[in-house]
Subunit: 223 residues, 2 copies
């Protein structure tokens, strides 16, 4: 049975390229697993969606009888036993996968949510003052600096390319999009190296095509 990847039916321009179905598409392309996509409404959230994912987030996959959410858990599941997550490097790769999501992204997202408050206060709430935002970045930078130092001497974060790179690179792409990697040459080179992979290029192409099709469907509905 073909694996199904659920993403949102439509999003505005600003999160395109960053909705987390991209992480899963990338992993599926890397391991060569075919998949089909399905959608859940962006808003209001549907009962079907909340039944699969109680936080109303994406991505979600269906793989046979299994319904699974959380991009970290999905990456471990779809890559298990492949070159992206081989059993003999399981602990080290998981360590860097959790580091991407719970140490780096935890800090960078704290800063990014504050920036979103500045840009979209109606949606993301009142923006903090400049010095609060600066402090949040200074803290995130301590985490980025640690990764910068590590990536100065290697191509991938945990040996050969793995699901830890997918999570770390996707987190860092978000930071780069806000100008947060200006002082991190090794991390910028890491992003270039990762996003030049054919599997990333295919995943991003399909991810963006999905939103373009969603725009076209909306135009038809309102015509």
């Amino acid at each position: 049975m073909t694996l199904t990847l659920y993403t949102l039916d439509w999003v505005p321009d600003f999160p395109r390229g960053f909705v987390r179905d991209l992480r899963v598409r990338w992993a599926l392309e890397e391991v060569g697993q075919p998949y089909e996509t399905a959608t859940v409404p962006s808003r209001p959230k549907s009962d079907t969606h909340l039944g699969m994912q109680p936080f109303g987030q994406v991505p979600i996959i269906r793989d046979g009888d299994l319904t699974l959410f959380e991009s970290g858990a999905i990456l471990q599941h779809v890559a298990r036993g492949t070159a992206l997550f081989p059993d003999d490097r399981r602990a080290e790769i998981s360590q860097w996968l959790f580091a991407a999501l719970n140490t780096v992204e935890m800090a960078t997202m704290h800063w990014q949510v504050m920036l979103l408050g500045q840009k979209f206060p109606d949606f993301f709430g009142p923006p903090p003052s400049g010095d609060v935002i600066d402090h949040a970045f200074a803290f995130a930078k301590t985490r980025l600096d640690a990764i910068e130092k590590r990536m100065a001497t290697r191509d991938w974060i945990a040996g050969d390319f793995s699901i830890a790179d997918i999570a770390m690179v996707d987190t860092l792409r978000n930071v780069a999009s806000e100008g947060g990697l200006a002082d991190h040459g090794a991390l910028s080179a890491y992003l270039d190296r990762a996003t030049a992979r054919p599997a990333f290029e295919r995943a991003m192409r399909d991810h963006m095509a999905h939103w373009q099709a969603a725009d076209a469907a909306r135009e038809t509905e309102t015509a």
Copy 2:
């Protein structure tokens, strides 16, 4: 060879009970694995520490030849194949483990860091204004509400007690300590149920005894 758990040599009163070695102690007590503890200096960070953990955090474990950090990865490693993380529930338990760390804690920590700024501005930076903090809690509350609904009808988050409960409960204990669970009866009952487990009680006893011994060692040094 006995597993070694690294924690900090000393911390002030406020994080005691919450330093993340507790998560690992709890899991080790649940699975019945003996361990010894070792320490790294709180500050300044030592080169030995940064060589094992580039972010300067704890916990870290040494298990034979393996050195491993990130509490999520350590929980998966020490519990693999036990009743806390059996192979036939691997995906579901991992899903809720990542949900605890990357969906719930990501949101609640954003709020808690702001509160820390109010209490300890010299250490945690300038505090945001009250409406910014309120908005951060309102966002975190959407995540807490989703878990509240789930826990209203079950004892543990993913079937029998698992490492997902250890991560979720430890995240929620932090929230409760700031009064953030006042409107969440099911979550408060979940915390009571979890923290009444003998393994949690042993873990917390040893965790607190570690800081008391650290105080005594400091007094001896300065005597």
